[in-house]
Amino acid sequence: MVQIRRLQEEGVDIIAIIGEIDASSSIELDLTIAKSVGEGFHRILVDCTALEYISSAGLGVFMSYIEEFKDKKIHMVLFGLKDKVANTFSILGLAELLHICPTKQEAKQLLNELSV
């Protein structure tokens, strides 16, 4: 139902979500982010270009890291959200709480600015 892939570019951990995240699959997203943090990454990009659907279970995973990231000075930027997915974030007002960019290039740039 969901595939999550990780790859590293210039010290940035890129997490790509492919498919749908709901209450049955959100644990995989949670474990992947926890692994990235556990491995000591301070810059994380989340590639949402192939994310077809996300429910509150998945949104809750992103939200649950907000404070921890602030404490540990970890920065995370999401990019490539389809309109239908972006709409879910904006209904909840999460678009203001998380860093979201249209493209990977812009997301990388924002990540660099945040990390200074």
């Binding site: 749908e20 809750g60 309109d83």
Partner: protein, 139 residues
Amino acid sequence: MSYQFSIGCSLGNLKGIREFVRTSLRAHRVPEVEMSAVVLALDEMCSNLMIHAHHCNPNHQLGLRIEVPTEGTLIFEIIDEGNQFDINAFATPELGNLIHEKRKGGLGIRLVKAIMDNVEYLQRDGKNVCRLTKTIHAS
């Protein structure tokens, strides 16, 4: 027009619920963003029921019924037996509190209340019926 579906209380079945909603509404020209929103609201309601009222017991059944009495009016019913899980009994949690408490739940209720025009509960034939109503404005 009305559409019916019945499924066991396993979170792995949420995908089937989303497909049922999309397939049923396909003929009713629901715009993409609204379609995604109502699919999401049904997923949230059913996952809440499966987890909190049925403890993900796959032998417990949820019934779904979609009625489109007139174009633009969508009525969704979720029918189950057992303890009623009434989202109106829960205060909509503040986002700030959810972040502070690192809670992964509570967002679904906010979503359902934001997406649907009305959420009501009734009893029919000894079963719980949760009825969600949504009016789609012509695009």
